[in-house]
């Protein structure tokens, strides 16, 4: 159980605001920190990692105190048993893929771990390459493997997939799910992408202006509970065309462009670029083996 009760003044785009968190995270889950940019997600992740210190409060993990302002306890990042994937991956350019992993790993205690990790993220052929010769997705896999090389209990991912294309994202989401299970982790990730959140997370903590506005499962958070559609997709409104009495909305769901007919009233409430939930009751779907 991770118990976080902290507060910190942060510098935002529109002046200072206070990040106030009072949450408990059960072990073994994947938790997503969701919210608009500047809401304090990355700061919260960095506070958990010990890279920045909260102004007041405490962080306790499995009865071990990582941070407590009143008692003057502040465990160093290296002593917190965490693995972290940075937004820019932070791979060491002077080391090969394998050396990046060896640097992060206590090879005397765990001599086979590096080989195992290279296998899990399928990097055997690239192990002697330098990071700057790899593609974004490959670098991300190295970063993920490296974050696990220290045998962490808690894996922190700071928008790890934001720079990748849709296909690569899917693949890497699978890697994240796989290592989460294989290495028995508690995972906290920062993500903006509703599809990704649906696929990965057990719970979503929704932050706005430094405050938790919602803490729920992904389905409940995005469907707001009152829909019972069997099909649900999150998409982005690309076009709104009004034709006679109805409007046709073009929605991009993953890579698929879908046209949906809505009444004028619904169309009036939408604007281009809106994130929308498209749901349908599955009365007569056609299923074909491919």
């Amino acid at each position: 159980m991770i118990e976080i009760k902290i507060s910190k003044l942060l510098q935002g785009a529109e002046g200072t605001f206070s990040l106030d968190i009072d949450e408990c995270i059960p072990p073994g889950q994947i938790i997503t920190l969701y919210g608009s940019s500047g809401a304090g997600k990355t700061s919260l992740l960095r506070i958990i990692a010990g890279l920045i210190n909260p102004d007041i409060g405490h962080i306790k993990v499995n009865e071990q105190t990582w941070f407590d302002k009143t008692q003057g306890i502040n465990l160093k990042p290296g002593k917190r048993s965490i693995g972290m994937v940075f937004q820019d991956y932070a791979l060491f350019p002077n080391m090969t893929v394998r050396k990046n992993l060896i640097y992060a790993c206590d090879t005397s205690r765990d001599p086979e771990l590096v080989d195992r990790l290279i296998e899990v993220v399928e990097l055997k052929q690239l192990e002697n390459r330098r990071p700057n010769t790899l593609s974004g997705g490959q670098q991300q896999r190295v970063a993920l493997a490296r974050a696990l090389a220290g045998r962490p209990k808690l894996l922190l991912l700071d928008e790890p997939l934001s720079a990748l294309d849709a296909e690569m994202r899917k693949k890497l989401q699978d890697y994240i799910l796989a290592v989460h299970r294989q290495f028995d982790l508690t995972t906290i990730l920062v993500s903006h992408d509703a599809g990704e959140i649906f696929k990965l997370s057990d719970r979503v903590i929704h932050l706005e202006d430094g405050k938790v506005v919602n803490n729920n499962t992904a389905v409940e958070m995005f469907s707001q509970r009152h829909l019972s559609g069997k099909f649900q997709f999150i998409g982005e409104v690309l076009e709104i065309a009004t034709e006679d009495v109805v409007s046709v909305i073009a929605v991009l769901i993953d890579n698929h462009l879908v046209k949906i007919i809505v009444d004028e009233q619904t169309a009036a409430g939408l604007s281009l670029g809106d994130r929308v939930l498209v749901a349908s009751k599955a009365f007569n779907p056609v299923i074909k083996k491919i």
């Binding site: 990692a49 890279l51 160093k76 990042p77 290296g78 002593k79 917190r80 965490i82 693995g83 972290m84 940075f86 937004q87 820019d88 932070a90 060491f92 350019p93 002077n94 640097y103 992060a104 490296r146 090389a149 220290g150």
Partner: protein
């Protein structure tokens, strides 16, 4: 041609560069990462030799090293060292004079590294020293090389400070740049030419080396 001034020059430059490498890395690291309020003051002090006339620096160092001054007295009474008009005195003066040439490249090299590299190493429970030696310095090799070469070349080119502190004592403080001055004064243009040409070639050679290495030309050649 008497080679001792040239050898003395190279010896002075080599020792100065070595000493500066060791003391500049912590200074540069502090300047690159610190957010202390008095940082501009330290930055100014480090950069002073760039704009100060060398004779001014030399004059004050000479006063400080003189046996009549308090620091000079302390050194002489406690350690039996007299720095004025001696080779160790030249080394100390050169270290101060060339300090910005080593600190600035390393500082800008470290500042340009993404902060996340350091943080990643911290999360892996690595000490500052391990992070410095395994991550930071290997990733700023061009900056280190620039610092080394510039410091070396700048020390070779010293004149004012050396003259003030060391005078022109053969085998002890008569470095090549002073020897040229002496030879010209004595109208020995031929010898002055010889010394000058060696320094000219040296300066050209080391700078060319910096640009070849940092531009990646040598690597391309070898591959």
């Amino acid at each position: 041609m008497d080679f001792t001034p040239l050898i003395l020059t190279l010896k002075l430059a080599a020792i100065t560069t070595g000493v500066l490498l060791v003391i500049s890395i912590p200074i540069a690291r502090w300047l690159a990462y610190s957010r202390r309020r008095f940082k501009p003051l330290i930055e100014t002090l480090v950069s002073m030799p760039l704009v100060l006339p060398p004779t001014v620096l030399g004059f004050y160092l000479l006063l400080a090293f003189s046996p009549d001054s308090l620091p000079g007295q302390l050194l002489e009474n406690w350690f039996g060292i007299r720095l004025a008009f001696s080779f160790p005195g030249l080394v100390i003066a050169s270290v101060i004079y060339s300090l910005p040439f080593m600190v600035h490249p390393i500082q800008s090299g470290l500042s340009s590294l993404p902060q996340s590299l350091q943080e990643a190493s911290k999360v892996m429970d690595k000490s500052y020293l391990t992070t410095l030696l395994s991550v930071e310095l290997p990733n700023i090799k061009p900056s280190l090389l620039t610092g080394l070469i510039l410091t070396f070349a700048h020390t070779v080119g010293e004149f004012g400070v050396v003259l003030m502190i060391g005078g022109s004592i053969p085998n002890r403080t008569r470095v090549a740049s002073i020897a040229i001055y002496d030879e010209v004064e004595a109208l020995n243009y031929h010898t002055a030419h010889q010394y000058s040409l060696v320094l000219l070639a040296l300066a050209f050679g080391v700078l060319l080396l910096v640009y070849l290495v940092n531009g990646g030309y040598l690597k391309r050649f070898w591959q």
